[in-house]
């Protein structure tokens, strides 16, 4: 059992506060992705769990045991680094065996585990090579095999795929997800790539400016973003936002059309809708002037202008539209979201 509890963890570097008070519980065997732009504190949080960084305040518990005062080696974790950190003076075999030798396992057991993880990562034919003789993708596999070989309770991954090319990244994404699901470990995975996060995570914790904005399943963060930032960060193309003015309680004008919305004491809200949640309809209430058409094969992406706001629409691939057309768009009522423009949170 390796549940990770992060309690009011804060970290500052001099005057800069990298993490405000973070509270997060990662359940046993969960695959949690820390997602955010660079500088949001996600790597700092991961390094605090690993013990490579000390929190300024707060507690970290793994499997019910407080570990924030322990050195990395006593935390039952292993880590995969962005630049792989494969030891250049050791063979692939000795790299994978490194943690096992430190744990003083006998040679037969070392052999068994190295061969098992090497087979799992498809690098069994590379065991006698050195890191200098490996490609980036192979080094990546060695780094993961080395982390898995010690059979840790928790695996921490710091942007492990970001140095691979796009195709290899997609392959490794699926492969890693399968392997980690079978390994029964709790995984904390840091990335800035929202597609990676969506496709791999059981749960995504979205970070911004040293805070966790939302921690929920991929579908939940996509459908019900807790904040304006989440809606604009998750999804490609991102969510559309339009200013809304109050008409009366629960009734709002958006770009000249009236919509039923939440009752709020605010006079202005932001109306939000995902680009694929719009239908072309003759009586569609939103008039959008097309400024750019991108036929992407599976669908057509149209960038439009509604009262000087950029508004993107995803349409069926056989839709024939061109620049300058005016589209009548009907938002799917159950997909409309509302955000408070002052505190940026969902209403």
């Amino acid at each position: 059992m390796a549940e990770i509890q992060i309690k009011q963890v804060a970290k500052s570097f001099g005057k800069f506060e990298a993490l405000h008070s973070i509270d997060l519980t990662i359940t046993d065997q969960e695959f949690l992705v820390l997602l955010g732009a660079s500088g949001c504190g996600k790597t700092t949080l991961l390094r605090i769990i690993a013990g490579l960084e000390t929190a300024t305040s707060g507690e970290v518990h793994i499997g019910g045991k407080r570990i924030d005062h322990l050195p990395p080696k006593d935390r039952g974790i292993s880590m995969v680094f962005q630049n792989y950190a494969v030891f250049p003076h050791l063979t692939v075999y000795e790299n994978i065996a490194f943690g096992l030798r430190m744990a003083k396992l006998d040679q037969a057991e070392v052999d068994r585990r190295v061969n098992r993880t090497a087979t799992l990562m498809h690098i069994e034919q590379l065991l006698q090579r050195y890191s200098g003789q490996l490609s980036g993708g192979q080094r990546q596999r060695v780094a993961v095999a080395r982390a898995l070989a010690t059979e840790p309770d928790v695996i921490l991954m710091d942007e492990p795929l970001s140095n691979l090319d796009a195709l290899l990244r997609m392959e490794m994404r699926a492969e890693l997800k399968g392997i980690l699901a079978e390994s029964n470990t709790t995984t904390v995975y840091v990335t800035h790539d929202q597609v990676e996060a969506m496709s791999m995570a059981d749960r995504i914790a979205i970070m911004q400016g040293g805070d966790i904005i939302q921690a929920a399943t991929p579908v939940e963060v996509y459908r019900n973003p807790a904040a304006h930032f989440v809606g604009s960060f998750i999804g490609n193309p991102p969510m559309n936002f339009l200013p809304a003015k109050k008409v009366s309680d629960g009734l709002w004008t958006v770009a000249g059309a009236q919509f039923d919305g939440p009752s709020s004491n605010k006079n202005e809200l932001n109306f939000a809708i995902r680009p694929e949640d719009l239908l072309l309809s003759d009586n569609g209430p939103l008039q959008a002037k097309v400024t750019l058409v991108e036929p992407l094969g599976s669908h057509v992406l149209a960038s439009c202008n509604i009262e000087n706001n950029l508004f993107r629409v995803v349409l069926e691939s056989d839709t024939s539209i061109s620049r300058g057309d005016v589209l009548n768009l009907k938002p799917m009522p159950d997909r409309v979201r509302w955000f408070d423009p002052d505190n940026q949170l969902a209403v």
Partner: protein, 277 residues
């Protein structure tokens, strides 16, 4: 537009000539004296003062042989080796940890410390020599191999610190961190991961310390009498010796240093790269 490329070519041609010219001048500056030294050392005594000189020496080993069997040379050579070896060991044992801390830890006054390390080289040894000689006599370190090695260590230490600093800086911190997460404490990670990777560089830095000590003459001449190192001994005994013996002595001193430096030159460049910043 059409003249611009020509101008660039013209400029670069001048620059190339200037560059190649300086390289040739610098090489001659260093190589000609070494050539003359070795050529004369390998000439028969009568040929040394002969004019015009032959470009290829006669490979007469009389001067070198005479010199090597000259009374006291063996003893001085042994002292030199002892002092240089001690200097080498102490420089690395003190310098490498300092280089490691400079590359891995942030502490107050780190930059000032780095400059101070360099500044010690700007302090002229003759200024220190007399007070140091007196101090050494008081504590009983005068005329000992260990005492001289201490002085040479202070001379070699800045280089040892800067070379090892650049060595450790060249090794990604993630390698150490990976070792920590795989069950190592700081010391184990150092010896299992970092040390094997810096070993060639450490060796180079050690050899350099050896050469610094081997070449040093001033402190050796002031602080020792019985335990003279080779350079100090030569300074004293060859002062009035015939010219061909001076050449032989010079060659015996220069050649080992040249060979050592040749093997570690790659690491010395790395050090200058850092020190020039």
């Amino acid at each position: 537009m059409s003249t611009a490329p020509n101008m660039v070519v013209g400029q670069s041609r001048v620059a190339r000539w200037a560059f190649n010219g300086s390289v040739i001048v610098l090489c001659l500056w260093v190589l000609v004296p070494i050539y003359l030294l070795i050529a004369n050392a390998l000439s028969a005594p009568s040929e040394v003062t002969q004019f015009p000189k032959k470009m290829v020496p006669s490979f007469d080993t009389e001067s070198v042989e005479f010199f090597l069997y000259f009374n006291g040379v063996g003893k001085a050579l042994w002292s030199s080796v002892q002092v240089a070896f001690l200097t080498m060991v102490m420089s690395i044992l003190i310098g490498a940890p300092a280089g490691y801390s400079l590359s891995r830890f942030d502490f107050r006054g780190k930059n000032a410390f780095r400059i101070l390390v360099l500044m010690t080289r700007a302090f002229p040894l003759p200024l220190l020599a007399l007070p140091m000689a007196i101090m050494f006599i008081r504590v009983g370190l005068d005329d000992t191999v260990f005492g001289l090695a201490l002085v040479h260590t202070t001379l070699a230490l800045p280089f040892a610190v800067l070379i090892t600093f650049s060595l450790f800086s060249g090794i990604p911190i993630e390698l150490e961190e990976a070792a920590w997460t795989l069950g190592c404490n700081r010391l184990q990670a150092f010896f299992k991961v970092i040390f094997p990777l810096v070993l060639p560089g450490i060796t180079a830095s050690a050899i350099f310390a050896f050469v610094v000590s081997w070449n040093e003459v001033f402190a050796a001449a002031v602080l020792t009498i019985e335990h003279r190192t080779l350079p100090a001994f030569l300074l004293q005994s060859l002062d009035v010796a015939p010219l061909h013996l001076k050449f032989a002595g010079g060659a015996v001193l220069v050649v080992p240093a040249l060979i050592f430096i040749f093997f570690v030159r790659k690491y010395l460049f790395a050090m200058w790269g850092i020190a020039n910043r």
